[in-house]
């Protein structure tokens, strides 16, 4: 899935001219020559990274696996319980609903948010004046803190006839709609806000990729008299396939872990209509003030991670023939 456009080439593609490290170190036979040769200095430079990643990335990853096989309550020592946590999670009556909602969220997010950024980016890449204004406007929602975005949209979604959206739709005699308060419309409302908040990033990624499309192909097609649509369909889209496939899987992985929207908009309601897998994990671990069920939480997060890994592998296999054409 190489998606490096030529403009990025000097960042990512070109091989470094020298393949070995700087010759601060020569003979490394004894500790003394190792120190004199710069070995210690190298280690000192690596130390912050080794510490931070060791403590806050590598160790917790291993710890997740251990905790998923244990009962931990932070007071008494942890006990090994085998696969009990996994069994408990799989038997949780809420799980099917959470999986269904998460899948629906991811699916709706693809329908709402996948084609629009592509169309926008293709149009924007041909803008000859004020292109900066276009990209700034598209990216603006991305820099708004997500909490602010959700709380602002919660105001928009006010279900009374004088809510913001209901007022606007009232101008054309639609509504009022219940938005977050109905089981049918709550989840789509969450997806709509999430799309608004995230689509701008995808537009910018497509714009960067579009600058890498070989212009000679366009020129050759023009000489052959190809119409605009044919050029988009037969040159632009195929040239972007790597990026298109990548953003799709990244979006699915991202939306499968959606938490903020259901947590702040609806707390999973109404009637569990917006409970997602991540909200379940949160509630297992932190939702109970008497003490978290860390075993169940880590078991479910491991299952989600495993599923996403398998899904990505399958996705890569299925799309390989198309992406390496």
């Amino acid at each position: 899935m190489a998606t490096v456009d030529p403009i990025d080439a000097h960042w990512t593609d070109s091989e470094p001219s020298v393949t070995s490290g700087l010759e601060y170190r020569r003979a490394r036979r004894t500790p003394v020559t190792w120190v004199r040769g710069g070995g210690l200095a190298t280690l000192l430079f690596l130390l912050p990274m080794l510490f931070v990643f060791g403590a806050f990335s590598w160790y917790p990853i291993v710890r997740t696996v251990i905790m998923s096989l244990q009962h931990t309550n932070l007071v008494s020592p942890a006990t090994w319980v085998g696969l009990d946590n996994f069994r408990a999670v799989l038997n949780d009556p809420l799980l099917p609903k959470a999986v269904e909602n998460t899948a629906e969220f991811a699916g709706l997010a693809l329908i709402f948010g996948y084609p629009v950024p592509l169309v926008a980016a293709v149009l924007m890449s041909e803008v000859r004046r004020f292109r900066g204004v276009y990209s700034a406007l598209a990216y603006l929602p991305v820099v708004i803190p997500p909490v602010v975005a959700v709380l602002l949209w919660k105001t928009f979604y006010d279900a009374s006839p004088t809510g913001v959206f209901n007022t606007i739709l009232g101008w054309i005699h639609l509504g009022p709609y219940p938005w977050l308060q109905s089981q049918q419309t709550a989840l789509p409302s969450l997806v709509l806000e999430s799309t608004w908040a995230n689509a701008g990033g995808t537009v910018i990624i497509y714009l960067a990729a579009l600058t890498g499309v070989n212009r000679e192909l366009y020129e050759a097609a023009s000489v052959d008299g190809a119409s605009l649509w044919r050029k988009v369909w037969h040159i632009t889209i195929p040239q972007l396939r790597g990026v298109l496939l990548l953003t799709m899987i990244l979006q699915i992985i991202g939306t499968a872990q959606v938490f903020l929207e259901p947590y702040l908009f609806t707390s999973g309601g109404p009637a569990n209509a917006t409970v997602t897998v991540l909200l379940m994990i949160y509630n297992y671990a932190f939702g109970n003030s008497l003490g978290g069920d860390y075993g169940n939480a880590t078991a479910l997060s491991l299952m989600l991670a495993m599923f996403l890994a398998l899904f990505s592998l399958l996705y890569l296999r299925l799309t390989r023939s198309w992406s390496s054409k």
Binding site: T3, I7, H10, W11, S17, V18, L22, E23, G38, A41, T42, F45, L46, L47, M49, F53, F56, S57, Y59, P60, I61, R63, T64, M67, L74, A120, S125, E126, G132, V133, S135, A136, L137, Y139, P141, V143, I144, P145, P146, L151, L152, W153, G163, W196, G200, G201, I204, L207, A208, L228, V232, Q257, L278, Y294, A297, T298, S301, L304, A305, A309
Partner: protein
């Protein structure tokens, strides 16, 4: 002349771009009106969708609560209420939470830049034999979804191994984990890989040790990438919600993002919207100033994740 990667790219993003439509085609009426019309429509759509909600927020932040509730789309039917902003800043203590957010962002920024540049320097310039192992371990973390880390990281902050002292309510619990961004390290390492090694050799022959080389040669050449890492570090910290919510339990220490949902129930809608407006000002102004770094970094993100 020192070659500065990044300059060329910055220009080309805004450059002429691909010629999907050649100059001859632009002259054709159908293309001109069809495609040009679509572009104009897109601009209108972007203004309404991208800017509209923020303009509404700005308007409502200075509108009396009753007007916003009854006539949400009217423009100041009964005058303005600038007092909302003042009330939010002092009475609801948005000012305090604002500074908490700033302090958290500065610490997270420093942790990320420090870890990414020192590690990038070691892996790219000094290149010990075990660099490959470390790089592989780093790349693995890119494939682990963030959710996997949440619970064990929290338990680790409450009960750290070796040190028997909880880090709950300490800013270190936010600052240090922020440094563990494999994405930053990869970004910086790749940038250093493309700096001309002749300069490092020359500096070494002139007697510069690794620390001098790092401080006086490599860092000054890395401004473009430091800009990208910095804007994303500050923005990510400003946006962060779940982690500070978990580890900072004392309301007086919490950042804006954690406090805003609580503020909603304590105050009137007008003051609340003013608080939301204040919370989004810094990222918006920062974006307008450093737009180039933001857009370059996002494009790069797509390239590197591939």
């Amino acid at each position: 002349v020192i070659f500065v990667p990044g300059r060329r790219r910055a220009r080309s993003v805004e450059g002429s771009g691909p010629a999907l439509i050649g100059p001859d085609e632009w002259r054709r009426a159908r293309v001109k009106w069809g495609f040009g019309g679509a572009q104009a429509l897109l601009l209108v759509g972007l203004v309404v969708i991208g800017l509209g909600p923020l303009l509404w927020l700005a308007k409502s932040a200075i509108t009396p609560t009753n007007d916003t509730i009854t006539y949400p789309m009217a423009l100041f039917p009964h005058g303005t209420a600038w007092s909302n902003l003042q009330e939010a800043w002092s009475n609801v203590q948005v000012g305090r939470y604002f500074w908490n957010t700033v302090v958290l962002a500065i610490g997270s920024w420093f942790a990320q830049v420090f870890v990414a540049t020192t590690a990038g320097f070691a892996l790219s310039v000094l290149r010990p034999k075990y660099a490959k192992v470390i790089t592989a371990l780093l790349l693995t973390t890119l494939f682990v979804p963030a959710v996997v880390l949440l619970v064990p990281l929290y338990v680790e902050i409450v009960h750290p191994p070796l040190i028997h002292h909880s880090f709950i309510d300490s800013y270190w619990a936010v600052w240090l984990p922020a440094g563990a961004s494999a994405f930053n390290v990869v970004l910086v390492t790749r940038f250093f890989d493309n700096l001309p090694r002749e300069i490092f050799e020359a500096a070494r022959i002139d007697g510069a040790g690794p620390f001098r080389l790092f401080w006086a040669v490599v860092l000054p050449m890395s401004k473009p990438i430091l800009g990208v890492v910095s804007v994303f570090a500050v923005l990510a910290s400003w946006k962060d919600f779940l982690w500070p919510l978990l580890v900072l339990t004392n309301p007086d220490e919490q950042p804006l993002s954690v406090r805003l949902p609580q503020i909603q129930s304590q105050t009137s809608l007008g003051v609340f919207l003013a608080a939301l407006f204040i919370a989004s000002l810094v990222p918006i102004i920062g974006f307008l100033i450093f737009q180039r770094s933001f857009l370059r970094g996002t494009g790069l993100g797509g390239a590197i994740k591939g």
